[in-house]
Symmetry: C2
Subunit: 166 residues, 2 copies
Amino acid sequence: MSEPGAGGESLLFLTDEQLRKGIEAMFFAYRGFTADPDRILDGLDYGRAHHRALHFIHRSPGTTVNNLLNILGVTKQSLNRVLRGLLDDGLVESRVGKQDKRERHLFLTARGAELERQLSDAQRARMRAAYRAAGPVAVQGFRQVLEAMMDPEMKRQYLALKESGA
Amino acid sequence: MSEPGAGGESLLFLTDEQLRKGIEAMFFAYRGFTADPDRILDGLDYGRAHHRALHFIHRSPGTTVNNLLNILGVTKQSLNRVLRGLLDDGLVESRVGKQDKRERHLFLTARGAELERQLSDAQRARMRAAYRAAGPVAVQGFRQVLEAMMDPEMKRQYLALKESGA
DNA sequence: CTTGGAAAGTCAACAAGGCTGACGTAACTT
DNA sequence: AAGTTACGTCAGCCTTGTTGACTTTCCAAG
């Protein structure tokens, strides 16, 4: 409160106390962020890892396993377990690459797309409510801070996805 | 970037596409958010769950086990496993309540406070950098959206902590 | 055409950190 | 005296992450 001169606000909001609040906001908000899809998945035989896979396959149809590995940041063994369930249950389809036949291109089946939509709808509903409550200016700031918080590599992936869809 | 102008911003930012970007921003940013403390914990025998416990005990010294349970949103068995490690290693101290002797009040020891500080410093450094990069207005919006995203109960807990420290 | 290496898949074993259910004890409340 | 609350603990389970080792398939360079 007693930063003498020095541009005031630009220093004031960087106190440890302010930063701690931001940290706790992230913690509590992320819980809300995942709560709705988790509730839906609870009945089914799937978990949050399946949701993530469905999301990014939906987002980038035809993506390879390696792409997905990089985006999700897990080992291929870990992803494989999850992907296997989705393939076996016919929610995801894997097609051998045309150029490179070693690669597998992943697509959602109709049933996979249906579950993905169900999960997304729940998550989007909360996001939409939060955006509405906070307003456009806040949303802009929200996205700016989140982008600045990402690791450079993650940010690259995020921006690549972001632009490919815009 | 390529948002085609239009004063429709107040509607435009609620398209599914915009919401999806927000969802992915949360996903990638949360990874960054936890990356630094995780790296520190990797060497030690502790995990993210220990970090959370240390954080909230530091934040609210003397908090009871039940309080912590509610804040963290896990079962007592799950918390107990984590807390036991911290107690056995002398990072956390448990004192029997004066009014109600059933309660255990939790405190960080000097060593516990030291580890907590180390973890917090790493996490705060990233948060500080993100705040600096985005600026005060963005930070305000960031916090507004996160608060709006929390479950009402979580938000209550968040605000209670927030005010007690302000 | 052979060979090196990349992409993918698989098996096995393990750890962290969630969960449920059941049970015990001490202490407060009615 | 009986019931409830706070805490701890045992036992077992699940999801999702990890390493390490190994195979198959295939592209590409020698």
